[in-house]
Symmetry: C2
Subunit: 499 residues, 2 copies
């Protein structure tokens, strides 16, 4: 298979004019963090209530509504669930809707020309249409190990029925394969009964928020800048986001003192903090946590009685030699902590890594450290949507068990995989250098994931112009940039970043 | 393709011994409605609060929990979201978990041997692995119109990327195709912007409940017996189920007087009723609404200011000559009602019909009659999970646009389709006759969907035995039946049916 060149990955040529030939080609998801002040992040003053007041619900009045509609409506924005109104989703918010370009801001590499991994798609096609396996001529079109793998997968699906609902946690034989993949990755055993297959990582995150959040008095510690899935899900379930700030000056470091401080602030306001979200490698900040730091985080959760929600969907996306991915479960087990020591959920997705299969909506969560009764409740939540899609389930089993050395497809698979990963790494470096060469822009070194989070220092005049039209300076800048150049950027404030 | 014989559809041979060779082969989803009294349904006394008190949350005490767990847990059933505890899901509840047989009670025909439609699977396989289209030898393995259709579909997907996230409502070109299919079905235009593609109908239902329910003071009118998705979703979103009773004595008739009575009762208790759920053809009762009845329902919603939530997933499953499926949108439009007259949501799924593609998790909702601002909020909810899976989206476009007369595949497609539908109809009739020939069992005539809801008249002794172990008589019977014979039946009380 011919791999896409860097150039072919970037269909938005107009952007090349602005900054560099590699400007957006590194990733489909990149943002400007626009901040008014070069120093003084004043993070101490950003508390739970203030954060939510920064993201007010859209201000639609009854008068607006009446002006737009000829007749009285049964359902109005005033009469819907206010949690829905309060939920904001920066990567698909107002700026993106205004732009009418939806496909390049959410870590969506195949929309920008990245090809799918051939082996994975061969297996999917055979599982979708299993009667192909009985036909002569099939060996001319499919690799032998894809045929064998499809056969193995069909053998673990009751009745070979890829069109049937499965067990609500996912097909048992696929969970066995995923557990084996996790065990191989971590060097510690994984239990297939702990795996819940889901339509991508997002529904898994929603499920945990739904389980944990009882009211606005329940808080979830989330990194800032954060992936807006978390703030959106917390808002939808009526909880409070308790922000902790990643330290830009130490490469988006996650400091325990900061966690502790924000936990104490939230508790002093009567918020019961239920869980800590850690995104590693970082989204949208691109850092990879050091093992020592992960140990501190595990101990922090254990000591403070928090559920550790580990977003590990970028586990295959690491671009520096001195860092490697360690799952939080591996870290916890290596510290001697077992199932009874702390509740830990790891989220994985088929949408990221070198595979980038966003449209397939596959993923899983590995749920450990919960009592049998609580797990039953998680199972019930999974069962309310019956099951996740079977193609996504199959793909999740494949990404956790790709071809291995000696398999017929291994060599071509590895060429494809390394081609994608090295291209991502090359573009990460080029984009980071490009940002840092620009006047008024600084950007931390990227280590992993698919993102850079550069910092812009706007002139005072731009800030005043934004104020004049009652807009946040970063949103104002983003809108102007779009209108003037066609480049869409998501304002950093949508990620909760301080100005 | 050889169609499965009736016999091959029923893998649970032990059941043949009990009742008839056709006992469960009609459908993967069948239940006993066990009722203590042959007469006197006492439906008047079943009000909102009483209904919820009939389904208490699992009674786990702190002592139970402590006895089962060695250490204090961070998360206990007492500290999770109580809405999760209150949610019950009869078709995947305690009896089903106890049985360890999950695949034959949720309208899941392919798990019981029904083959997928060849044309649909050919197209899916080609879209999953598009590079097949460039290979010689492809025409020997795939039909010409499947190849052409796959090509058409790939052409409407930006970058032909079936592995990319799509627009959160689904791929525009596929929504165009679905809207065209709806227009053809109804004879009234459909707008692609009204279509929201979802991972099956369940997430669409949840989305509407999330939108409409603000607190337990918001109620949703639901048929009893009902598909438990509705009660589960209402409970999860913290609303009140307002029951209305289908009249078994008139073939599960839906009477406006009953709707009005239950609406008034709910309102007198301070419940704001937001919406009416109608399942047509009926689940789990199998009736098909008459056109005149549908008109009354539309007028009722319009006059009372209710959102009409029309579960129309069994639209292809009609087995009697004197009934046909009419979508509620067609009915409303034929009455001269336009978009501004009433909010109406139609749910459709790829899981039912003759296709039965449950595992693909495809479906859509057609949302009409909402203001632009409210639709934006629905869009936001859709966007929080990014998009539904692309294979499910493709399949939804296929079921709404199957091969037509003149297409190369049409003849073989039609043989498969009619084979499945006539087999379902034959089994429906056979099962209905079998039930009615049994002593102490009565069952209404089936007209559509995949279900029968027979009525059993238990002897007093059985009821006393159930009381002695503090169980509902129907749940007790179901448990005993399972243990004694291996047959799993879901107690009718799980569907809210009166005893």
């Amino acid at each position: 298979m011919a791999l896409p060149s860097d150039r072919s990955i970037c269909p938005l040529r107009r952007e090349e004019y602005i900054l560099s030939p590699h400007f957006v080609s590194y990733s489909a998801f990149w943002v400007f963090a626009l901040r008014r002040f070069a120093t003084g992040r004043a993070k101490d003053s950003l508390l739970v209530s203030e954060l939510s007041s920064r993201c007010p619900p859209p201000s639609l009045t009854v008068a607006d509504s009446a002006a737009m509609e000829p007749a009285a409506r049964v359902v109005t924005v005033e009469s819907i669930n206010p949690k829905v109104l309060q939920c904001e989703y920066a990567v698909r918010g107002e700026i993106v809707i205004h732009a009418q370009i939806l496909y390049c801001n959410i870590g969506n590499p195949q929309s920008l020309g990245q090809h799918p991994i051939t082996f994975f798609r061969e297996v999917l096609a055979l599982c979708d249409h299993p009667s192909l396996l009985d036909k002569t001529g099939i060996h001319a079109l499919f690799s032998a190990d894809a045929i064998a793998r499809a056969q193995q997968i069909l053998d673990v699906i009751p009745g070979k029925a890829t069109g049937a609902y499965s067990h609500s946690q996912g097909i048992k034989g696929l969970r066995d394969a995923i557990a084996a993949g996790i065990s191989y990755r971590d060097g510690f055993p994984a239990n297939p009964d702990d795996i819940f297959l889901t339509d991508g990582a997002s529904p898994a995150v929603h499920m945990m928020m739904q389980l944990l959040i009882r009211s606005e008095k329940d808080g979830i510690l989330c990194p800032i800048p954060q992936y807006p899935l978390y703030s959106a899900s917390i808002a939808l379930h009526g909880g409070s986001l308790v922000p902790y700030y990643l330290d830009e000056s130490t490469g988006w470091g996650l400091e325990i003192a900061e966690l502790k401080k924000q936990l104490d602030v939230a508790r002093s306001k009567g918020v019961t903090v239920r869980a800590l979200v850690v995104i590693n490698p970082g989204n949208p900040t691109g850092q990879v946590l050091a093992e020592e730091n992960q140990k501190q985080i595990v101990d922090f959760c254990k000591n403070e009685g928090l559920v550790l929600l580990a977003d590990e969907v970028y586990q295959e996306n690491i671009y520096v030699d001195d860092k490697k991915f360690n799952s939080f479960k591996k870290i916890a087990r290596s510290m001697g902590y077992g199932d009874e020591d702390l509740p830990l959920v790891s989220f994985q997705s088929v949408s990221k890594g070198y595979y980038g299969e966003c449209g397939k909506r596959g993923g899983y969560m590995e749920v450990t450290g919960f009592s049998a009764e609580v797990r039953e409740q998680i199972y019930k939540l999974a069962s309310v949507n019956l099951c996740s899609n079977i193609s996504g389930q199959i793909l999740a089993s494949l990404v956790m068990n790709p071809p291995k050395i000696g398999d017929e497809s291994y060599e071509s698979f590895n060429v494809e995989k390394q081609g994608i990963l090295s291209s991502l790494a090359r573009r990460a470096k080029a984009l980071q250098d490009a940002f840092n060469s620009l006047e008024g822009v600084t950007c931390n070194k990227t280590e992993g994931a698919m993102y850079l989070f550069p910092r812009l220092h706007l002139p005072n005049k731009a800030i005043q112009a934004a104020k004049a039209v009652n807009a946040a300076p970063d949103a104002f800048y983003a809108r102007r940039l779009l209108d003037a150049t066609g480049i869409v950027v998501v304002p950093g404030s949508g990620f909760g970043q301080a100005s």
